[in-house]
Symmetry: C2
């Protein structure tokens, strides 16, 4: 059987940075060549970054991507890398345009190319376009229906892209029909908690279905609300895992394969077993197998435990959001509570403690321990500490005469003004400390310190998980003062205030939120699951009324299947309630304020 | 030829208010019965409101819609309206579920039903699902492939839903094949400037294609960022307009028709001329034509001029956002400039002047005329006026020691805090006064008075159109002080500051923004159109860097084909620039601040 050493480059491009991404491809191709690879693959839309969203609706962007691909092929050859076939994702364009209402302008495609000897020798366009969850690919791309079979060193290699693996039929079925020996799948597969398990099982199943070795390469890094975890892997045709990359790290997976010799691939139309036909196109890059060589063992990374995996997502998302936007330092309002303590710790892990400026902003209602705990946290981690007592600024709005919840919001907003000023002046990014439980229930102040800022690292982290992560992080060194973790949560916007005055215990609340939001369960299902009826009605109502606030929240890394932002789009103006009898009038509805 | 009096109910449901929407249907059906109609039609998803977005992913919501439809049929009959066939949009469910990855949970459909004699006698599901611009229907619905032909008073009636009319082939082609005499099209067709012209031309063309009279009924009213303009109309099989409703008004279009007698409709599968087949299903509601009667003349509304049309959109959007969310009063920061003057006038037209609370917030940099002009505006319109000088509050942040642009932002944010406090305390909604030109270029302060609030009435209005609308509104009575319109625009956040210090003249800027944003033109195309190269690079860069700010802006009524919010989704973290050579580093990128 022919041998082949494949390299999978698990790397972190920047959306729109065609030049920088091409540099990254050259660097890692060079590395793969040095490692003796016979084929190297880069992730989905590697050249443009992923997802480029509305950028692909600009014909100038699509053309720039195509031009950059041609230039890249030439450059690889110029740098002596022309012999090594490179599989790379880019934004292409349908060669058979069928303009019609609802098809995107310029007919962009989510494409893969094989580069060899200075040329683009084969291209493939994604066949299954996902349009659910975080994906909107029917909006952006037109489907591909060609299936090149690329002979590399005497092995028939097929290409597929991400969703092509997740849906039944299509190119995986065609790959089997063609008898390809190796199926290269390039991916931009975003992280969700535990997704590595699902992904691994899927890869094994599809490799068996295709009757081919499957080489799966994924992006790593953050892009706005998405975080890509990597987890690139190689599975043989029996479903056995041969190699697997660690999460959250750039790197090259190198794996030696024994593959079936290329057969006689028939060009022409075939039934793709999904209601479409695909056109098989054989392409020969190199017909002769490599000379026999001694394979090297490939690594299989140890899976991370759940807390470490989530922490990695939050740190990666934060680091990439800050750095890719051209910033290096952040400002955080530090209350002494658990949320801002965890956000500051994530930021320090992501950017280094010198780059984390924290500001304590005590008011007349702040407890003594608040400032002490905040200062303690800064000292333990070496963060840059400052303090701005807010009483004078709050007093300056006294002429407005507001009381009650409006006065609480006013305090939070004064802190919001201060943290933005502290961030703006030297050019730092402000990080927002709101968690998912607060965001879900609207238990936050719009434009207050909990919602202002460029990025919200724990936006998709329920409060009970915030504590769990803090405890886990402290097992690696006690960087968070235990008092921040152990004291009862309070917004400290009124005397002796506790979260528990207004919300149910977080472990119950979070379970209910997960069922209602994460699984879209209805009122009767929630009650059948054992949640108290009055609590269901109260929480569901809070959630339904808080969409307005959530809409104005900064982006943050997604770690769950239903995160606020990218994959939840609810009407703000809505009278639908999961209640027995919806109230006729709800004057507090959409009020940009605490409930 | 059989006669038929059709009623088209151009009405304004609320998303999710199944009970209230059913009441609206009964009320207008009663009215249609009193007018002697033989058939009445309501808009797309009338029973649920449109668009319900992620609500349709809840199986409890879909079931509630189906249950409400059954109950509505019974209730109409109970109230003596069972004889009058009613066409109504609702959220249905596929009867032939084919669960697969990427198909929405529970297989919801965007459906139309015919109610008669207490029963649901026919249903149709939208065949062409739009997934571009403001539409995401591949995410939410599964396609219908049945085509009921409903015989009403001896006339064969076909049903289609909105996008079915915009795309070639499908149910319109099937309707022709079946020889239907009347095609009822129910719509949730959002407003865009000049869309009535496009819609009218389309209706005429499709009526001719179908060889049938086309009755087109649309929603009217605001739903978050969408505004529905109504514009319901009836076109005969030659393309002649028989009736047309005014924009922005609820009402019943009544039109007497002479229609071909029903023929022999063959049930079974037919080629839909769009790559699919549809199943024709004849249904008889009533076979005998009505007794001959004297037709009444139908009205054809006079088209509005462009300014009146846009003003109607802004007033309708504002009124519905405020009222449907359960509020009656609004708070607006009034600067004396044109933007807040126009927003206050829109609000007064929408809600009545007593419900518009305006607050002047002069600083040390405010010119004398600012407060005078603001007060003059309030007096002319009878708005509720108050004043809060901000110098003291700004001074209270002096310890932070910020200067320059950060100090300008601080002033704007102090005003943001004040307007939110004024709104929160009594339960008003704050309106935001930012215009599209500012939003596009990032010429605004996040959490400042120009971006805080629940709704932004002129979010999609370029600055030059803001002036034009002010002048137009004053032709109906001089409600806006001429000085607000005539003085040079300034943020007044620093001494002698003018917008023109930082931005090109608005008439040039707005033309460039329209080409770059509205038409997705690339840099070279913009330069070829005559825009100065340096200006293109500067403005394009401002626009590309401002996505972060736009993401946190409140919703506002859409009046253009590419409005920020619903139909523009750009990555925040992106290095793509429509520039000759993108800069290697852009530290100010995404900075939540003025450029």
């Amino acid at each position: 059987m022919p041998q082949l050493r494949i390299g999978l480059a698990q790397v972190d491009p920047v959306v729109g940075d065609l030049t920088g991404n091409a540099d990254l491809i050259v660097t890692w191709t060079q590395h793969a060549a040095e490692r003796g690879c016979h084929l190297v693959a880069f992730p989905e839309m590697m050249l443009t970054g992923y997802p480029p969203e509305d950028l692909v609706l600009r014909t100038s962007f699509v053309q720039a991507s195509i031009d950059a691909l041609t230039a890249l092929a030439q450059r690889l050859d110029d740098q002596g890398l022309g012999d090594l076939p490179v599989v790379v994702g880019y934004c292409g364009r349908s060669e058979r345009p069928m303009p019609a209402l609802g098809r995107p302008a310029g007919e962009p495609q989510n494409s893969a190319a094989v580069l060899h000897a200075g040329r683009v020798v084969a291209t493939y366009a994604k066949h299954h376009l996902p349009n659910y969850g975080v994906f909107d690919e029917f909006r952006y791309f037109v489907r591909g229906d060609r299936f090149p079979v690329v002979r590399v060193r005497g092995v028939d290699v097929g290409l597929v892209i991400c969703e092509d693996l997740w849906q039944d039929g299509g190119p995986v079925a065609v790959a089997r029909g063609c008898g390809v020996g190796l199926l290269v799948c390039i991916n931009g597969s975003p992280y969700e908690r535990g997704k590595d398990d699902v992904r691994g099982a899927l890869a094994r199943r599809r490799a068996v279905e295709a009757g081919a070795t499957l080489a799966y390469v994924n992006l790593v890094g953050g892009q706005d609300e998405l975080v890509f975890d990597g987890d690139s892997l190689v599975v043989d045709a029996t479903g056995a895992v041969l190699a697997r990359a660690p999460l959250w790290e750039q790197g090259l997976v190198v794996c030696d394969l024994d593959l079936p010799a290329a057969g006689a691939v028939q060009p022409g139309s075939v039934d793709a077993a999904d209601g479409t036909t695909m056109l098989v196109e054989p392409v020969v890059v190199s017909a002769d197998p490599v000379a026999p060589y001694e394979p090297e063992p490939a690594g299989i990374a140890t899976p991370l435990d759940d807390d470490a995996e989530v922490w990695g997502a939050l740190v990666t998302g934060t680091r990439d959001y800050v750095r890719k936007n051209g910033f290096s330092k952040v400002a955080i309002a530090l209350s002494g509570g658990i949320d801002s303590a965890v956000v500051a710790t994530i930021a320090a892990d992501a950017l280094g403690p010198d780059n984390v400026h924290v500001i304590g902003m005590p008011s007349q209602w702040s407890s003594e321990h608040s400032v002490a705990d905040a200062k303690d946290l800064a000292a333990r981690q070496g963060l840059v500490w400052s303090i701005f007592p807010i009483d004078g600024a709050v007093e300056a709005f006294a002429a407005l005469g507001v009381t009650g919840v409006a006065a609480e919001n006013l305090q939070a907003r004064v802190r919001g003004v201060a943290v933005m000023a502290v961030a703006n002046a030297p050019g730092f990014l402000a990080l927002s400390c709101g968690n998912k439980s607060e965001l879900a229930t609207g238990f936050s102040t719009l434009y207050g310190a909990d919602t202002t800022g460029a990025y919200a690292p724990i936006k998709d982290v329920p409060k009970s998980l915030v504590w769990q992560l803090a405890r886990w992080r402290n097992t690696l060194g006690e960087v968070i003062p235990p008092n921040c973790i152990d004291k009862p949560p309070s917004a400290e916007l009124a005397p002796d205030q506790l979260d528990s005055d207004r919300l149910p215990p977080y472990e119950i609340l979070d379970a209910l939120l997960e069922a209602y939001i994460g699984h879209d369960k209805g009122r009767s299902e929630l009650i059948a699951e054992g949640f108290e009826e009055a609590l269901v009605d109260r929480v569901v109502r809070l959630v339904d009324l808080a969409e307005f606030k959530r809409r104005q929240h900064p982006p943050g890394p997604k770690i769950s299947p239903r995160a606020f932002g990218r994959d939840r789009r609810l009407p703000i103006t809505s009278r639908w309630r999961e209640l027995a009898a919806p109230p006729a009038s709800e004057p507090e509805q959409a009020q940009p304020d605490r409930p």
